[in-house]
């Protein structure tokens, strides 16, 4: 462990060259002989009865091969948790992205023209567009076959909040809201389905984040065996949680049309189609009540978080579950009562997005902690230090944090030091003259690694040493741009002492790799790293055994620098020679590795148990300048300290931190769907604004390493914690600068200047 060659090094990305030279093929680059182009006709209204659909003119359009509606689909529903998402809407459209008709033609142009000829008669209905309306007992029902609009309710009860509030000297009650966020991946969704190829019914190629989830959906829709559906994912132009159900639905549509025509069908969304149809981050309405003694000890917290699930259940049950676990933030609170809910509405459906259920609760709860500190006359960091988790602390669900290092103090200290927090806090707390005012604000968090009690948590991988010593890796986890190919190659390279140029991480192919769960929850390095490490270890043992016999060596054998050595440092043979000799002696040099995550538990009634097997800790501090004449906020600096256990690739970790911070800046300050009454008005990046290079602060990415006993080389995770803290940190910084607190996102010009978002109704 102490002499690492591959791991803990900023190795160049193994796929960087192909990507920067344009050689890497993405979903929409693929071409197959005889391919058709698919297109979907979507609803004009967020909620409408579909009275009649006339496809005759579209069918007659030259070049059109097939036009289909919901009736033509073998099984029209799918879903990862609750199977109520429809491939196409039949009797009614229940959100603005619902597809009604799909067609495929010889050219994109023909498909587009034909789509315009589809005649749909609607009866526009008044929908429900606010989850707080939809939760009322007498609200009209969004989803057929349900008796209420509630998708899910997660309670958590610890101690007794009444007693807790009675002990408090100060009680604060605040309400917060967060908004829709579009994933804004560079590459819009693209899928090609080839029928009757590679011994399967359908092969699905494209920008698929979670190959197995998409396989489940396509097989379910086609009523086919899993073995007959093959998903192959290669390069992705970003996902951030966003290419799951919408891709599944696209793949299912293309698959149905491919089988109908017996020709490959390609579907590629325009940006407008992508923004209108794809799921978003859940908007939340949050109510927080907190009690504290005048010394600043928290006595009780009562929390209600209501998430807008939109038209489908999608991942609402799991997203709101992460919220219930993290809702108090990383603080010891003896008495907690938390309820998180999801409700159906006729709004865009909401699902996974980097951060999952935590960014809304982090925003609320870390904003609240700042306000509480102010009310108590304490410094924000002091209040946190007084209450935050330490080694052996008990969480809201009564999990004792003792199997890993609880490093909140370390991340807090390192971030503070990097940005010179104490001095700046003091300076910006004084009266500031002039239009531009500065502030500094912080936020801390703890976050469960991997899926937790959401689902079974297992991953498999294959390490296959070839007879020339080169190595092929398979795993069901997908390279979504996060750098997983590189990280996995480093882990295997470290075990087998082989350099990365001899290792190839293959495309994710569901018919080859073992089902590994989804590439989500910041779990891949941990789960896939462990699985592949095991597989590599198995191969290594086989090679050691072979080498001892074949070359007559004894004692320990060391694998390094593409060769095998004795423990005294004498070279035995090149790795490639050993592989070749072994192969020609009939030795099997491949192995599966299977990893099952440590045990966890959860009581659905009380919210008590061990929801995650380990946690990561982070602190971000934002320094801002607010133009009080215009409401413009400039984030000047951001210090982001994250405990990742062990950085398999420090450059990649920093990349994740930079990316997470930039996303959070966008979410906090400018991103806005232009949503009103079920319609999405900002359908491209001229209106849906994300940060440009000029909006990005100077970011100090601070890697903190406290190896986790269960992680590969001690690694935990980094992808999502980076995006959950920025909102609160920026909000707190703005409050210090201007003396005014905000409770709703985004903190756009108008909100910061006038105190409310004038462009939004209600």
């Amino acid at each position: 462990m102490n002499d690492l060659k591959q791991v803990n090094k900023s190795k160049k990305r193994v796929d960087a060259k192909a990507k920067v030279t344009g050689k890497a093929k993405f979903g929409a680059d693929l071409k197959f002989a005889n391919m058709l182009y698919g297109k979907v006709v979507r609803t004009k209204y967020p909620y409408a009865k579909i009275k009649n659909v006339d496809i005759s003119k579209a069918e007659a359009y030259p070049g059109v091969e097939v036009v289909m509606t919901a009736k033509d689909i073998p099984n029209n529903t799918f879903g990862v948790i609750i199977q109520n998402q429809r491939v196409l809407a039949e009797d009614e459209a229940i959100y603005i992205g619902d597809g009604i008709v799909m067609l495929a033609a010889e050219s994109k142009e023909a498909a587009e023209e034909a789509a315009k000829l589809v005649e749909i008669e609607y009866e526009e209905l008044k929908g429900i567009h606010d989850p707080l309306e939809s939760r009322k007992p007498d609200a009209q029902l969004v989803m057929e076959g349900t008796d209420s609009n509630q998708v899910v309710h997660h309670p958590l009860r610890k101690g007794d909040v009444e007693t807790g509030f009675a002990e408090a000297d100060l009680i604060l009650e605040r309400e917060y809201s967060t908004h829709y966020i579009e994933h804004a991946y560079l590459e819009p969704e693209a899928v090609t389905v080839v029928p009757n190829e590679r011994q399967t019914l359908v092969s699905v190629y494209g920008s698929v984040q979670n190959p197995y989830a998409t396989r489940d959906a396509v097989a379910r829709v086609l009523e086919a065996d899993l073995s007959q559906v093959r998903i192959i994912q290669d390069n992705m132009g970003g996902s951030f949680g966003g290419k799951d159900e919408n891709i599944s639905s696209m793949a299912a549509r293309a698959a149905v049309m491919a089988l109908e025509t017996d020709r490959p069908v390609q579907m590629v969304n325009s940006r407008e189609e992508s923004i209108i149809e794809s799921y978003k981050r859940h908007p939340y309405n949050l109510k927080y009540k907190v009690g504290a003694t005048k010394e600043g000890k928290l006595t009780a917290m009562e929390i209600e978080a209501v998430a807008d699930s939109g038209a489908y259940a999608c991942q609402t049950p799991f997203v709101t579950w992460r919220s219930v676990v993290q809702a108090t933030g990383p603080y010891e609170v003896p008495n907690v009562k938390t309820d998180t809910y999801g409700f159906y509405t006729n709004n865009p459906y909401t699902g996974a997005m980097r951060g999952y259920g935590s960014p809304p609760t982090c925003f609320a709860q870390e904003s609240l902690m700042d306000e509480l500190a102010e009310e108590l006359g304490m410094k924000p960091d002091q209040l946190r230090e007084k209450n935050m988790y330490r080694q052996g602390s008990h969480t809201a669900s009564n999990q004792k944090l003792d199997n890993h290092t609880v490093s909140l103090q370390e991340v807090l200290d390192k971030a503070k030091e990097s940005i010179n927090y104490d001095k700046k806090y003091e300076e910006y707390s004084k009266e500031q003259t002039g239009e531009k005012k500065r502030g500094i604000g912080l936020a801390i968090s703890y976050r469960g690694v991997s899926l937790g009690a959401e689902a079974i948590d297992t991953t498999g991988g294959i390490v296959a040493v070839q007879k020339d010593g080169s190595i092929i890796l398979y795993c069901g986890l997908a390279e979504n741009g996060q750098g997983l190919r590189t990280v996995f190659s480093q882990v295997v390279g470290e075990e087998l002492g082989v350099n990365l140029d001899r290792i190839t991480y293959m495309e994710a192919d569901t018919s080859v790799a073992p089902e590994s769960g989804s590439t989500v929850a910041s779990r891949s390095t941990f789960m896939g790293g462990n699985a592949l490490k095991k597989a590599a270890k198995n191969v290594k043992e086989t090679m050691i055994e072979f080498a001892k016999e074949e070359y007559g060596v004894e004692g320990e054998i060391i694998f390094k620098d593409n060769a095998l050595y004795t423990d005294s440092g004498k070279k035995i043979e090149d790795f490639s020679k050993v592989a070749s000799d072994a192969f020609h002696s009939g030795v099997f040099l491949s192995s599966y590795g299977w990893y099952k995550a440590p045990k966890i538990s959860w009581d659905e009634e009380t919210g008590q148990g061990r929801p995650y097997f380990t946690y990561v800790y982070g602190c971000q501090i934002a320094e801002v300048e607010v133009d009080t004449g215009t409401g413009q906020v400039k984030v000047l600096n951001m210090a982001a300290a994250h405990d990742v256990g062990k950085a398999i690739n420090p450059a990649n970790v920093r990349g994740q931190i930079y990316g997470g911070v930039v996303m959070a800046v966008g979410h906090a300050l400018m991103e806005d769907l232009g949503f009103s009454d079920g319609f999405i008005n900002h359908t491209n990046f001229d209106e849906y604004l994300i940060p440009t290079a000029k909006d990005i602060p100077d970011i100090d990415a601070i890697i903190v390493e406290n190896p986790d006993p269960a992680g590969p080389y001690g690694a935990k995770s980094i992808g999502e914690p980076t995006v959950e803290l920025g909102g609160a940190a920026i909000n707190n910084a703005i409050a210090l600068a201007t003396g005014e607190r905000h409770y709703d996102l985004p903190l756009n010009l108008e909100r910061v200047l006038i105190g409310r978002d004038l462009s939004r109704e209600g």
């Binding site: 979507r42 609803t43 004009k44 209204y45 603005i96 325009s270 407008e272 189609e273 209108i276 239009e435 004449g629 215009t630 409401g631 413009q632 400039k634 300050l669 400018m670 232009g674 009103s676 009454d677 319609f679 999405i680 008005n681 900002h682 359908t683 491209n684 001229d686 209106e687 604004l689 940060p691 440009t692 290079a693 000029k694 909006d695 756009n748 010009l749 108008e750 200047l753 006038i754 004038l758 462009s759």
Partner: protein, 310 residues
Amino acid sequence: MQKESKLNAENRQKTSGRGSNKVPIGSADFLAPESLEKALDYRKRYGFEATVIAGGTDIMVDYFERLYEVNSWLDLNKIEELKKIEINDEEIIIGATATHKRIAEHPDLQKYLPMLAHASSEVGAWQIQSRGTIGGNIVTSSPAGDTLAPLLAYDAKVVLQSKGGNRILDMSDFFIGPKENVEESDELLTKIIIPKPSENILSRWKKVGKRKALIISSLTMAILIEIDNDGVIENARACYGAVAPTPIEVKNVGDYLKNQKLKEVDAKKVGEIAVAGISPIDDIRGTEQYRRQVTHDLTVNAIKEMAEEI
């Protein structure tokens, strides 16, 4: 609020009204003359049948996914004469196809027309500035065009040239509505003439947008004040973008300021006069209330700062 889903490109906001109802004339030509004379010939012959293109940063967006609707192009990029920037004792003359980047980086323009140079440096981003031209910005005639308030403040004139001759118009007479102007189908905008400002000039430029680059302004402000040696205001112009159907000068501000000592001006009053002179609307870049408040605050601050500067 819209009534139907904004799914298709047709629903995109158009940056100019023209062209969409064009009747194809059969032949599709790409005209790239090297002389102005030749260009004016084509202009006469084709009129609006040929779409004029300079940097293309507005027109290409305009025709996004509808490029086939453009029948013929008249490309101005090969005409050297239109790119010139000249400065003499009385005037500064900027060719219509001078790019924002050249204007932003031109030392004389930075010296004499700092608001224009600054505004040009805030158009879009590096790439847009390298292609986009001042003429394109003017002819697009967006109320939010970044160079327009500064040009009004500098009392610029535009030269519209045709085979028949020249028209020289005050900038303020050129714009007649959002994305509408008085250019005729046989005319080209060839240059912008700006009287060389005196030495005793103070000015303030401000762009307000929802992010730091690649953003259409929520509001722009260009205020210019000319003072004599005693600090008395001889002449003042306060101009704004994105607060009315066209970029505008609020003349009452100039009238109010004239002959006052800058140091003694009631800045708040100036802010009020400015707000009374604008007619903003609610749109995606800002609400009416926001624009009024910001116009007020920016104007007040600009006056205060300028008073401190002398």
